[in-house]
Amino acid sequence: MDKTDSLLRFITCGSVDDGKSTLIGRLLYDSKTILSDTLNQIEKTSHKRGLSAVDLSLLTDGLQAEREQGITIDVAYRYFSTPTRKYIIADSPGHEQYTRNMVTAASTAQAAIILIDARKGILTQTKRHTYLSKLLGINQFVVAVNKMDLVNYDQETFNSIVKEYKALFDAISVNENNQFTINFIPMSALNGDMVVERLDNMNWYQGDTLLEILENADSQSTNSNLAFRYPVQYVCRPRDSENKELHDFRSFMGRIESGRIKVGDKIKSLPSNQESTIKAIYIGDQVVNEAISPQSVSILLNDEIDISRGDMLTELTNTPSITKDFNATICWLSEEPLNQGRVYKIMHTSKIAKAKISSIFDKIDVNTLSSIEANKIETNDIANIRIALAQPIMSDNYFDNRKTGSFIIVDDSTNHTVAAGMINNIN
């Protein structure tokens, strides 16, 4: 029995024209994730459309509602496994008007595959995809120069795209402090060159195949090296009168969003600033001595302090800011534009607070990456703003901690999620 033992989430950026659907189909096919009934179905459809070979891109064909309109509405999640790793692909449509979908898909990803058509080279969308991936905090990039079969597997074509992309990447500065890894691969997703198999059309390329790169990429758990952050989701007080042991039982339930914790560690509860030490850590009914991000645990403290949902346990010295006022970059997701006069709600970790957009600084043109003046914010806009809250949140800058630096804005008349935000300057 093969057991996978880690998990990687990644996004694929590109349009159907770049062969994105074919690439995903190829990954699923070569990793033997596609089952025969699904394959039969796409074989039938390929035949119906008069194609000679099976069109792997049909695997990612969407909902009836989408087919009727001929567009892809939404992010789809797909899964495959190798003997050592489980993968979650967030597949989002690539066009400009779907900035919000790409932002959604990128928010949970550790790595981005940027697809480039070898015949066309770097396009405006390449810049947009790279910018948005960096903006959302992805620091592992795989640049897949696809359709190499259509340029006779020419090494020079590949080399010049690599050179041009490096320059582009350096010019996009969103979070300059972060360390990035970028891998370049020449590829033909259609034939399968350098996806899972090397094949022998590009023996001039000595680097890893796409799957080899994914197998070695940093996985989900890198947050465990950051400072301890534990937003309390739920307080457990069984108050079981039949069981004396449980009479005074009180545990704080949540997920370690970053860092690690062990029994005896000193902690602080925010925003009240009270200190205590860890008495016990549970995962279910199992007692553990230590736990790391992103485990969901239950914590007992040695002192009785008042803690409820929305509070945060942290370490003593390296603490988040307790703030009611901060700058952020937001992506507006709703069809309804921002109404600056209105009070919205924000959700941040396990906390909900009333919020007003106090200033709009500028918007970013996602194609040129230049700053443009803004007085209104509409669907797919990326904007730099200032937010004022009615209650404080415990936050870090997004590029230091994606979990405590992110928030969503909710319109409480419809309860819709209207924007996603990244905190970038806490004052």
Binding site: Q64, R85, S221, S224, L333, N415
Partner: protein, 300 residues
């Protein structure tokens, strides 16, 4: 000290987090429990999320009336063992009330579960139903949110879903609206079996290979039961089978198998070339979009 979680630990941690968000954000949630393997994983997740406290929600089974008795016995035993509250609402009650009208006597009742479910949501004023659906099951599910919004008619509108970013789940509703929460969205069939093995979860016996009278009809194996009798001229065989899903008898087919323990099922799952629903759900094959259609009508 470990530095990395295994994929099962990661999936479990995510599912616990989602369940606690439901408990923290919703005022009257319920967990849908059928006795099937996915909902048994949900129960283990709920134990890990809330013990030593009680679950902050009751369990509910929407019963089609066409069940394998083993599954119902198992369901009741499990609930007693957990010492939690079970609500059962039956499609047959809806039939008696006239809100469900069958087209013919032995019509599969899976799709009518939606009606009974919506009636139960109204009756108890549930604002959230926790379910065991997974995105790998079917393509209409691949785009499903973890917290999926349903309007006051229980409808899923794929064009009007709330964007879901990071692990910030928006479960806010107005009165009459409903969230369907899917804590194991990111699990595959293989993950479920691996989790069952790791946690040593007990399952209804029909998941394991056993001898059963069946007939072969249009490429599928149809179990011979009171509600699925053989037609004239069909040959009844007695072969080793197991079920990959449990549901309404009339639309759940077993597969030929000799896998009589979890280990062997995992090996079979790794080797199988047919998807869970493709092999065993007679109702999903009827139209390419039938799951999508049912979800729009309030199915979970």
């Amino acid at each position: 000290m470990q530095n990395e979680l295994s994929h099962l630990d990661w999936l479990e941690a995510e599912a616990i987090h989602i369940m606690r968000e439901v408990a923290g954000q919703c005022s009257n949630p319920v967990l849908l429990f059928s006795g099937g393997k996915d909902s048994l994983c949900l129960l283990r997740i709920a134990e890990k999320a809330f013990r030593p406290g009680k679950f902050p929600f009751p369990l509910m089974h929407i019963d089609t009336g066409h069940n394998y008795q083993e599954v119902i016995d198992f369901r009741d035993r499990k609930v007693t063992e957990l010492n939690e509250r079970l609500i059962v609402r039956s499609v047959e009650d809806s039939m008696a009330k006239g809100t469900v009208k069958l087209n013919y006597e032995l019509e599969p009742r899976n799709k009518y579960q939606s009606i009974t479910l919506l009636e139960a949501i109204d009756e108890f004023e549930f604002d959230c139903c926790i379910g065991g659906a997974r995105r790998d099951e079917e393509k209409a599910r691949a785009k499903e949110r973890i917290m999926s919004f349903r309007d006051s008619f229980g409808q899923w509108d794929p064009k009007n879903q709330r964007p879901e970013l990071w692990d910030l789940y928006n479960a806010m509703t107005h009165k009459g609206e409903n969230i369907r929460a899917f804590p194991i969205s990111n699990w595959t069939e293989m993950d479920v079996w691996q989790y069952i093995e790791r946690e040593q979860l007990e399952l209804p016996s029909i998941y394991f290979a056993h001898k059963r009278d069946i007939i072969r009809r249009d490429g599928a194996i149809v179990p011979v039961t009171e509600v699925t009798p053989p037609k004239d001229g069909e040959i009844v065989e007695n072969i080793m089978v197991r079920f990959r899903t449990v549901g309404d008898i009339t639309c759940t087919a077993p597969v030929e198998s000799h896998a009589d323990d979890v280990q062997k099922i995992i090996i079979e799952t790794a080797e199988t070339r047919i998807s869970e629903r493709g092999a065993t759900r007679l109702d999903d094959q009827m139209s390419e979009a039938s799951m999508e259609q049912r979800k729009k009508e309030g199915y979970f």
